[in-house]
């Protein structure tokens, strides 16, 4: 856990080392399930979220778009998402891609 008001989520540890697919119908590690079962509950109860993206076998854009782009479609404001969700990763292209779904 991070400091008070901050939730630390490590995708590899707290969700899956093999995130894959867009919808729940595509498999148990889909972007839709990650969004609905991990991200939205964390956004609903905490001030900020720190997401550790490293440690998985990689991400497809379909997963990223559904998990993170889906937050915007679900009604979260881009400015709110950018200020409340922080990322930890050695791959800056992942953060660029996720932010592009919020613009």
């Amino acid at each position: 856990m991070g400091h008070s008001g901050d939730t630390m989520i490590n995708i590899a540890r707290d969700f899956s080392r093999a995130p894959a697919g867009r919808y729940v119908t595509d498999g148990p590690n889909s972007g839709e399930r990650f969004r609905d079962q991990i991200l939205i509950p964390a956004l609903n109860k905490k001030d900020t979220i720190t997401l550790e993206l490293d440690g998985t076998r990689g991400y497809g854009s379909s997963f990223l778009e559904e998990a993170f782009g889906g937050l915007k479609r679900a009604g979260w404001a881009a400015v709110d998402l950018i200020s409340r969700i922080k990322f930890r990763t050695v791959d800056p292209s992942l953060v660029s891609e996720i932010h592009s779904y919020w613009r």
Binding site: A20, R57, G58, G60, S61, S93, S96
Partner: protein, 154 residues
């Protein structure tokens, strides 16, 4: 009559010594430039190979007709994209200034967007997008490398 010593003759060794030291600096600088250019050339070559790998893996994934083979092909493609991202970041750290993150995003989106890893995924031919994007990436990196090494030459 004794042999007279020219005034200032005791300092005559200074000029050859200074020229020798200057020569060492020039040689060291040239060696450094050669090394830098070699390093960048190697990285560009690796990047080209990495892009070819991604194209190959993406082609395999999107053209595969047998559904049971798709998970393994998808994992292989994502692993290559991770490697590509590391290679591009390496070029950026070497001082080649281009929008590396966005180029990786564009390639990843083309290769793994849409119905990637989805039950709705249909076997299809690759559009020209991935090829165009990867060519753009290689050209951008090569151009920056050329500019950078030219700077080092001057």
């Amino acid at each position: 009559m004794g042999v007279g010593i020219q005034p200032g003759a005791q300092y005559a060794f200074i000029l050859p010594a200074a020229l020798t030291i200057a020569g060492w600096f020039v040689v060291a600088r040239q060696a450094e430039r050669r090394e830098f250019r070699k390093e960048v050339r190697d990285q560009i070559r690796e990047l080209r190979e990495g892009i070819d790998e991604v194209k190959g893996r993406a082609t395999e994934y999107w053209l595969e007709g047998e559904r049971s083979k798709l998970p393994a092909l998808a994992i292989a493609l994502k692993a290559e994209l991770k490697r590509l991202s590391r290679l591009v970041a390496g070029l950026s750290q070497a001082g080649l200034d281009f929008d590396h993150a966005q180029l990786v995003v564009d390639i990843r989106t083309l290769a793994t967007g849409g119905d990637f890893e989805s039950k709705k995924r249909k076997r299809s031919d690759l559009g020209s997008g991935l090829v165009d994007q990867s060519q753009k990436m290689t050209v951008a990196a090569s151009a920056m490398a050329e500019k950078k090494t030219a700077g080092h030459r001057s």
